[in-house]
Amino acid sequence: MSETLVFDAMRHGVLTCQGETSLRTIARMMAEHRVHAIVVTDLDGVAELPWGIVSESDLLQAAGRDPDAETAGGLARTELLTVTAGETIQRAAQLMAEHEVTHVVVVGDGGRPLGVLSSLDVAGVMAG
């Protein structure tokens, strides 16, 4: 397991939405595709990074409010825990455990999101 790279275990590609996408649409995307994070792509000038993430936890927090009024741009977090595709699974798993999260965004050289690594991807590697 120590030599396996994030690239080999991650889910390649991310689902994206716009800043104006409603919480209800995000909920639909997560439920239909069984994904735990959606990348919000058009945060240029709004936030430090040009993109952000709405996670399952963000959705749960906001779900007590109006799902048609809440938008991805309002919910997106741009301070993110990320790993690079060339990192080892061991290191990524350590980071996830440290931060008590079960999903991290995998970024490429330019810092753009390439995919997501989940705890179940790590489990797949541990299973051998």
Partner: protein, 139 residues
């Protein structure tokens, strides 16, 4: 929850979610393993069945091993550890007949995306509810 129960009830009523119970939304299946199941064995169950928690059945009752427990075990000698030895998560529980909103509050409060669903009478686990199950209802 901020705003108190009454405020939350009014708000959720607006999107017709207030009447949904945990039982309506949950995955009514629990996967068990024996306490001495290897860490690799638990990892295989989670990866293959796409589940984030596995119940550990024992004579004295049950406990739960989660994906986070697996992640915490990566630096340990996983070849010589069992499911029972790495299980450290205290997953919140909710009754099958309770409102879905109660489960959502628990998830937010405990910063988790899964809760274990118990039968009200027997106290036995009857299912697991995830954040994605709540997303499906919201959608």
């Amino acid at each position: 929850m901020r705003g108190g129960a009454q405020g939350t009830g009014t708000e959720v009523g607006r999107f017709d979610y207030g009447r949904v119970t945990v039982g309506d939304a949950m995955r009514d299946e629990v996967i068990y393993c024996a306490p001495d199941t290897s860490v690799q064995g638990v990892a295989r169950i989670m990866a293959q069945d796409h589940i984030h928690c596995v119940l550990i059945g024992g004579v004295a009752g049950w406990s739960v091993v989660t994906d986070l427990d697996l992640l915490r075990a990566v630096d340990r000698d996983i070849d010589h550890l069992s499911a029972g030895e790495i299980a450290a998560s205290d997953l919140p529980t909710v009754g099958v007949g309770e409102p879905l909103e109660r489960a959502r509050e628990l998830m937010v409060e405990h910063k988790v995306t899964h809760v274990l669903v118990l039968d009200a009478e027997s106290g036995r686990p009857v299912g697991v509810l995830s954040g994605l199950d709540i997303a499906a209802i919201l959608a």
